[in-house]
């Protein structure tokens, strides 16, 4: 199959309302065969694990690639130089960024809009948006910047605006925006990185700003806090958002996504913590024991593996470092499984990396 045929069949698949296990499996195996053939580092990796298109019969058997692999090797079925866009992960301890090559954004965009329309817009047409994140022009390699730009382009009204500039959060402009929204009485949507919301809350608390956004207004935050702001407990975070902006916690949606995927997960509001995350019919998640790759019994903690059919060019199946539990309607996120310290007195990898950079010794 050519790349265009692959892309067309995925777009067609996304346009359906739902998928059967069989339909999902067929397309996943097709994609696996395509990626195995065209992505040689991945082929070598699969061979090492003894899994090839001849032996893999179920989507769940497709070898998963750890997210860190995007930093190590080029995972692209197409010539990476011909990529329309490269999304990169934010900096890490090692200062190497993972790269996700997209030969064309058609599939990514369709995956994003179909899913966003259903879970955030609830098929309600357009809404005025405020964005707490830099623009796509400022951050061309950020998948989140593209995601938000797409949200504004497809679902935002013309008077939507960005509130993050090179100088950081433009709090006065934001306050004007919030007041304007209140005055018009039209629903308003504020979207952005979770840590930007923390900066916003800090600023609003400083000046005692409290708003009551019109009915139907909603919030979308994503990405957690990382090292960009102080960490807030989720309950505290959503309580403050709700108190400051007058948006009920059930209308505060958290998006879970990653640069290495082309599809996002949403919850149905954060009235209760932890919220259940779920994805559309073209992505499936397993909760596994990372050592054996086997699915853990339902209700037990494990590490999440996502099989995303919209990832047509890199690899469909990604091994995350996110700990989760499978539940009826999706999964619960329980934090990250990273930086395992040695139990004894042997040197741990992270400490070694710090030593290498000369920061700790």
């Amino acid at each position: 199959m050519s790349q265009q045929e692959i892309m067309d069949s995925i777009c067609q698949f996304i346009r359906r309302d739902q998928s059967s296990e069989e339909g999902f499996n067929d397309l996943a195996l097709h994609l696996f065969a395509y990626q195995y053939k065209n992505n040689l580092p991945y082929q070598a990796y699969c061979l090492q694990q003894g899994r090839t298109p001849r032996t893999v019969k179920m989507w769940s058997q497709i070898p998963s690639v750890p997210i860190n692999a995007f930093k190590e090797v080029i995972l692209s079925s197409n010539n990476p130089k011909e990529a329309e866009r490269i999304f990169m992960t934010s900096g890490t301890t090692q200062g190497i960024q993972g790269k996700h090559y997209h030969p064309a954004l058609q599939v990514y965009d369709q995956s994003m809009t179909a899913n966003f329309n259903r879970h955030f817009m609830k098929n309600s047409g357009k809404i005025r948006m405020g964005i707490l994140f830099p623009t796509e022009e400022v951050m061309p390699n950020s998948s989140l910047a593209h995601y938000l730009a797409l949200a504004v382009k497809e679902f935002g009204t013309e008077d939507s605006s960005y509130f993050i500039s090179e100088g950081g959060l433009e709090i006065e402009k934001l306050i004007d925006g919030l007041e304007e929204a209140k005055r018009t009485g039209e629903p308003y949507a504020l979207l952005g990185a979770s840590y930007s919301f923390v900066h916003m809350l800090d600023e609003l608390e400083k000046i005692g700003g409290v708003f009551s956004l019109p009915k139907g207004s909603r919030i979308l935050d994503t990405g957690g806090f990382k090292n960009n702001s102080r960490r807030l407990e989720p309950d505290d975070f959503y309580n403050r958002l709700s108190d400051r902006l007058g948006v009920a916690r059930k209308d505060c949606i958290n998006m879970y996504g990653m640069t290495e995927l082309s599809t996002q997960f949403y919850d149905q509001g954060n009235g209760e913590i932890p919220s259940v995350k779920s994805g559309p019919h073209w992505i499936r998640t397993r909760v596994i024991n990372p050592l054996t790759g086997e699915t853990v019994p339902k209700g037990e903690q494990g590490v999440l593996v996502h099989c995303d059919l919209a990832n047509f060019n890199s690899v469909t199946t990604i091994l995350t470092e996110d700990i989760g539990i499978e539940v009826e309607a999706g999964f619960l996120l329980k934090g990250r499984a990273q930086g395992a310290e040695a139990k004894g007195c042997s040197l741990a990898l992270e400490e070694f990396i710090r030593a290498k950079k000369g920061t700790s010794l």
């Binding site: 050592l291 499984a337 310290e341 042997s346 040197l347 710090r354």
Partner: protein, 483 residues
């Protein structure tokens, strides 16, 4: 099962609060109840220990102390004693290590604290152990005495069983009062050992304490650290840096940071008859405490040119690790450790494409991994838990280039070579920062009297007090019988 951990002097008064640390392995659970002192109790405790070290512990001769420790060790070596049985029963549940590994590890470790070994230990550092009891004449004239401080505070870390008694015994030999803080990973053994010592010599009852608090509990920490004469700390460089920042400048701080160790195998150890034994010894160093010790190997540099090639040697090791897995299974890993382990292995598997000489050996259950590599390879930490690299080299000296940048992190080298190669490479290794060179298969059992991270176990804890010649001569003038 419930067990009271730690040890407190009987004369410490007041109600005690206990914190329960729960451990689980397979179907067994054990709850260790460990006293959590208030600030006032901590203050009182340091006063008690200091006072009793000054008046009681220092009245013992070093030989008497050696005998008391020897008796305690004999009981711990006796598999029918209740102390030994308790340790053998509970430590596997607490640390997760296999019962046999713990049984063998305890015996080999404790043997180094019997009387002859302790005597050697003392002579090693002091030359004349009587320096600890009385002023001893010095060849240059004058007299000297080795004085232990009133209070040594030990902050232990990690889950390697019984490791804390190393510094605790050092503290006792120099007649210091000792307060040790056990780690949450292994809070049992130090307390058991202290209880037994008191049973053997009740006069020591108020001279030491084994306590616990949650790491980072500044109130309890600072209270103790401010009153210590010496603080011995174990842990990561990050936690040691934080500990060090809380210790007054005038207090001696002896930090033992996490270290990296490795093996070197010369082609002399790789003929078709000896290679199996070499691989067996190397694998043994890997499975003991699942590489969690600072002396545990992260990788093996294997020389080409023997009748067994480095690549074949990697397969030998894989075979040995698989056999050990059946007999001494790896401890259960946390989800974080499992993730780190899988990520490490996947990363190696992905690199096969760009480095076709690489080989990743392992089973689908992922209970161990051996990675074979060629070409110039700087030392890199393994994710531990039975994961090693075998790296082919042409000349043993090449290793020096690979470890160069990490001198402050190096510790043990396990070596299989000819005697000449041993001494030639040892000099280079020492210059590169390695502090211990040992036979392959002995990496996890340092000898009595070893220099931990190149330092002196006892000398670093004492102060020498000199009576100079002039004082002696001057005093003669004032003797009542002076002519």
């Amino acid at each position: 099962m419930k067990e009271v951990g730690g040890y407190l002097p009987p004369c410490l008064e007041g109600e005690l609060e206990y914190k329960t640390l729960t451990f689980q392995r397979n179907q067994d659970t054990v709850e260790i109840q460990i006293p959590l002192l208030t600030r006032e109790q901590m203050d009182a405790l340091t006063d008690i220990v200091k006072r009793n070290s000054r008046f009681i512990l220092k009245s013992f001769t070093v030989n008497e102390i050696v005998s008391i420790i020897d008796k305690a060790i004999a009981i711990f070596l006796d598999r029918s004693s209740k102390y030994r049985q308790k340790a053998e029963k509970l430590l596997p549940i607490i640390t997760g290590y296999d019962e046999e590994i713990i049984r063998l590890g305890l015996t080999s470790y404790l043997k180094s604290f019997r009387k002859p070994q302790l005597q050697r230990f003392l002579v090693e550092d002091l030359g004349n152990p009587l320096l600890l009891d009385d002023f001893q004449p010095r060849p240059k004239g004058g007299f000297s005495k080795a004085m232990g401080p009133e209070l040594v505070v030990h902050v232990w870390a990690g889950n390697v069983p019984a490791l804390p008694i190393w510094s605790l015994i050092s503290g006792l030999l120099i007649k210091a009062g000792n307060i040790g803080k056990v780690s949450s990973g292994e809070p049992l053994f130090a307390g058991l050992f202290a209880q037994l010592l008191m049973e053997i010599e009740p006069k020591l009852a108020d001279c030491l304490a084994i306590v616990w608090w949650k790491g980072g509990d500044e109130e309890r920490e600072s209270c103790l650290l401010n009153k210590a004469d010496i603080v011995v700390g174990y842990g990561s460089n990050t936690s040691l840096a934080s500990l060090g920042s809380k210790i007054p400048l005038t207090t001696r701080f002896l930090p033992f940071g996490h270290k990296i160790s490795f093996g070197i195998i010369s082609k002399a150890g790789l003929d078709s008859r000896k290679a199996w034994q070499t691989a067996h010894s190397a694998a043994l160093d890997v499975i003991r405490y699942d590489q969690q010790g600072c002396y545990s190997p992260h990788c093996f540099y294997v020389q080409r040119g023997g009748s067994v090639s480095p690549r074949e040697f990697a397969r030998y090791m894989a075979h040995e690790l698989e056999c050990f897995e059946k007999r001494y299974p790896r401890r259960g890993l946390s989800l974080e450790e499992k993730t780190a382990n899988a990520a490490w292995r996947n990363k190696e598997e992905l690199n096969i494409f760009s480095n076709s000489s690489k080989e990743v050996l392992g089973t689908t259950s992922n209970n161990w991994t051996v990675v074979y590599e060629e070409g110039s390879q700087e030392i890199n930490p393994s994710c531990l838990n039975r994961v090693v690299k075998v790296i082919a080299i042409d000349q043993l000296e090449q290793v020096i280039d690979f470890i160069g940048p990490y001198r402050s992190l190096l510790q043990t080298v396990g070596i299989a070579s000819t005697p000449k190669e041993l001494f030639d490479i040892s000099d280079l290794l020492g210059k590169a920062g390695v502090t211990r060179i040992t036979g392959l298969g002995s990496m996890t059992s340092p000898e009595a009297g070893w220099h931990h991270d190149g330092r002196f176990n006892l000398l670093d804890l004492i102060n020498m007090v000199d009576i100079e010649c002039s004082a002696e001569e001057y005093a003669e003038r004032f003797a009542p019988y002076v002519d």
